[in-house]
Structure formats: C-alpha cells, structure tokens
Amino acid sequence: MIQVKDLIYSYPKANTPTLKGLNFQIDKGEIFGFLGPSGAGKSTCQKILYKILSYYTGEIRIDNKDLKRWGRDYLQNIGVGFELPNHYGKLTALENLQLFAAFYPSEKLIKPHNLLEIVGLEDDANKAVDSFSKGMKMRLNYVRAIMHNPDILFFDEPTSGLDPVNAHLIKQHIISLKNQGKTIFITTHDMATADELCDRVSFIVDGEIIITEKPADLKLQHGKDLIKVELKNGNQTQFPIVDLGNNIDFNAFINEDEVLRIHTQEASLEEVFIKITGKNLK
C-alpha cells in the first residue's frame, strides 16, 4: 500500500514547487492512475516514489513504513516501466534482460524467454535492440519492469508507441498483475487507457490533485441522464433515462422504424477532465 500525504517537491533552482501538497493512497491490488497534461507533475511524483528524487517534504509510507527508511529491499520489490524505451541498442533483447536481471535475487526472477513470450518477442530474443521498432522496444521496457516479480509497479504511459493489438495485450497483462494483488501506479494522458485500466484516477494539474474518483463514477456524475436513439431511417433523438419505460414519446419513436442503436449520454473521461480542470490533456 502506498500512502502519500502533503507531498511537496521543488526542482533545484525552480521558483515554484512542481508538486504542491499531493494527498492520495493506493491500495494493494489496485490500479491507480494519475491523469494530467505534460508538465503537471505526474512523472515527478513517480520518480519520488521510486527514489530517484529525494529532498521532498510531506510523508510517504509504503506498506506502513516511511519511504526514507526503506533501503535496497524496497528497490528489489518495485518495477518501473519508463515512458520511453531505454535499452542498449547494441545488445540483444535477451542480453538486455539478463544484464538487469543479474541485479535481483534469482529466486524471484521470471525466465527471460517466458517474459519475451508474454509480449510476443520470443522470436526476436537474439536480435539487437537497435533493429527493433518503437513498439517492440516498449514491450521490452514492460517485461524488464516485471521480470523480478515486484509487488509494486510504476508505469509511465504504458501503452505509448504501441499498436492497438499490442496495447491491448499489455493492458490485459497489467490487469492480470492487479488480480495477483500487485499495487500498480500508472501515469498517462491517454484517457482510454486510464478508463480501461484504473480502479481510481486522480486528475493532476500544475502539481495539484483536483479530484480522485473511480472513472465510472466520474463519467456518470458529469454525464447527462439521457439516452440517444437512432433509427434506421436516419431519425435520432434524446430521451431522459428516468421512467423511460413509461415515456409515451420514446415508445412512439422506437415504433417508427427499426432501431439502429441506443447510447447513454455519459461523459467521456476526457470531457470530464476538461470540464473539471478547464485544461486540455495535450
């Protein structure tokens, strides 16, 4: 479990803090997402949590122990999927994995070939990473993050650069990790990914959390209680959801022609974000 209280962080020589008092909690077995535009402080927060940045103020507790008191055993138990691919291009995929695997206790390691199979890179194990596409490198990023079977995982834009098939593959695997009880913290500005993966999301803008909620609840709260009906003849109209079965106009409309589709008018996560924060996600 990760508990963050009043987290403030300023980069050296910066005039204003990048993080301005963040408060959130991520439970074991939960996928939690930070959504926000570039420069909002998402990655900075993750860097503090995986101990690349220090000298913050506030309190961070990991499994009820202060982050500052955790040593190397903490780093053994976390996995980080970076936003951009970062591998030795002159080494093969297998050599890259073997190199970093050597730093973790062998009893927890997953075999490199099994990892590569998870992301469909088993036939490319002995190819130099320089010859990989960005998507292949990102998949290699992903398996490097999970190769030592960590309990806490940080993913920065986990589906960035992936085609829809491989993005789906990675998302399904992240969900399977959640089902194994892993604590997962994702930062993204891809609303679809957040919507699909996250149990709860925080909207973060200019270093401040604006709201933390379940994506489904956010969409319901900020959507319209309407359905939109479209008929085969091209006619379309909206009706209130309340007491829909007794709505004479609705019944008359759907008897007019064959119904092509019916949609609820809940807001998309992106619309909710813009509505709440007044900012765009780009």
């Binding site: 690349i52 190397r72 970076f82 591998h87 030795y88 291009g89 050599e95 190199l99 730093f103 973790y104």
Partner: protein, 235 residues
C-alpha cells in the same frame, strides 16, 4: 558480485560492438609497443632523443590512462544519452558502490599497461614496488577522466570536445619540467604528481612526498567525482 562481472562483460561487449571505440582500445597497446620497440629504435637513429626519454615515459603513462578513460566515458555518456542510466537508478544496489566498482576495469587495465611499460622499458632500472605504486597512481586517472568527462557532457559530441580539453589540461604539467623555477605551481593539476614521481624515479631519488600527495589528491578528487556523479547520472 555476479552482476558486476556481467556489467564489466557488458561494457566490453558495448566497446567491441562499437567500431570507433574498438579502435581506441588498441591505442594503449600501440603506445606500449612504441615505448618498448619504437623509442629504442628512434634513439639509435637520433641519440639526442635520449635526453628526453623520461618525458616521453611521462606522456606515455598518462596517455594510456586517458585512452581507457575516454573509452569508458563514451560508454557512460551513451548510456545517459539513451536513458539506460535511469534503469540503473532504480536497481537495488548502492549508487556510489556501483559507480566505484564500474571504474575497476578501466583502472585495472590502465594500471596494468602502465606497469608493463615501466617494467619492460629498457632505459631505466626501477624498483618493482615503486613501479607498482606509480602504475596504480597513473591508473587512477582513467576513472578520473571517465567521470569528469561524462559529468560535463550531455552527448558523445560534447564528450569528445571535453575529452580533448581534459587531455590538454592533464598534459600541461609536463611543461613544469622545462621551467624548473616555478614547477611546483603546476601541482594544482593532479597529473603533475605522476610526472614528478616518475622524474624522481629516473633520478633514483625518494618518491614518498610526490607519490603521497599524488594519491591524496587523486583519491580525494575521485571521491568528489563519484559523489557528484551519483547525484546526476541516474536521473
């Protein structure tokens, strides 16, 4: 230990798979061959060169270390450039220990080639323990150069520029031996103490003072660079 051995092997693989760095790996051996075989032949042809053998040895010792320093600085700059350094930042190892142990190979290689050069050259007969000490002191300049060049550079191009400047700077104290009146003024540059120690050895004089100052100066600089490097390289 296993990971450090694998890391050393990986560093070697990266150097061998990069054609430009592979060439640089051969340079210290070429310097060794020049001192062992080329210099005696040159003296035979031009006896006047004999008066400058000690300075040639000084330069050769240092160039051996700077070559290994250059090669490993390129490896570190490249891993910073491609952001692999960030991955090392989240590994369960001590950052300072990781940096220090990663310098063992360039230091050992530099010390070994310098030792062979001083021990096998045919111009002076040196005391073995003095040769070992000077080879170690000279070898420290490989990590010093590796760390300082990679600290100052954002990419390989900058690295090459900084290397040229540093190489010039570490060679400057050689001038001290041509202006004896103020030679000690060059003591602010750590390599002066390598040159001074070697000069004392060629004159069969006591080396305790220059080599002690040399070790203190270079080890203190090394610790400072490791500390600074651990703050910047991984983020």
């Amino acid at each position: 230990m296993k990971h450090l051995i694998l890391l050393s092997i990986t560093d070697f693989k990266l150097i061998f798979r990069d054609p430009s760095l592979r060439v640089f790996l051969a340079l210290p051996l070429m310097i060794l061959a020049l001192v062992l075989f080329g210099l005696p032949a040159l003296i035979e042809e031009y006896p006047v060169v004999n008066d400058y053998v000690s300075y040639v040895l000084m330069g050769a010792c240092l160039q051996t270390s700077t070559m290994f320093g250059f090669i490993y600085s390129m490896v570190l700059i490249h891993e910073k450039d491609i952001e692999v350094a960030k991955v090392y930042g989240i590994l369960p190892v001590s950052k300072k220990g990781f940096i220090a142990t990663r310098q063992i190979l360039p230091f050992t290689l530099s010390s070994l080639v310098t030792f062979l050069m001083l021990q096998l050259q045919s111009f002076y007969v040196f005391n073995l323990s003095q040769v070992i000490l000077l080879a170690i002191l000279s070898g420290i300049f490989a990590p010093l150069l590796t760390l300082s060049v990679s600290l100052l550079s954002k990419n390989k191009m900058e690295g090459m520029t900084w290397f040229k400047l540093m190489n010039l700077l570490v060679s400057v104290p050689l001038a001290a031996f041509f202006i004896p009146c103020c030679s000690w003024a060059f003591g602010i540059i750590p390599t002066y103490w390598v040159f001074k120690t070697l000069e004392q050895m060629t004159l069969a004089e006591n080396i305790v003072l220059p080599i002690s100052i040399g070790f203190l100066f270079s080890i203190a600089t090394l610790f400072l660079l490791i500390w600074r490097f651990s703050k910047t390289h991984f983020s």
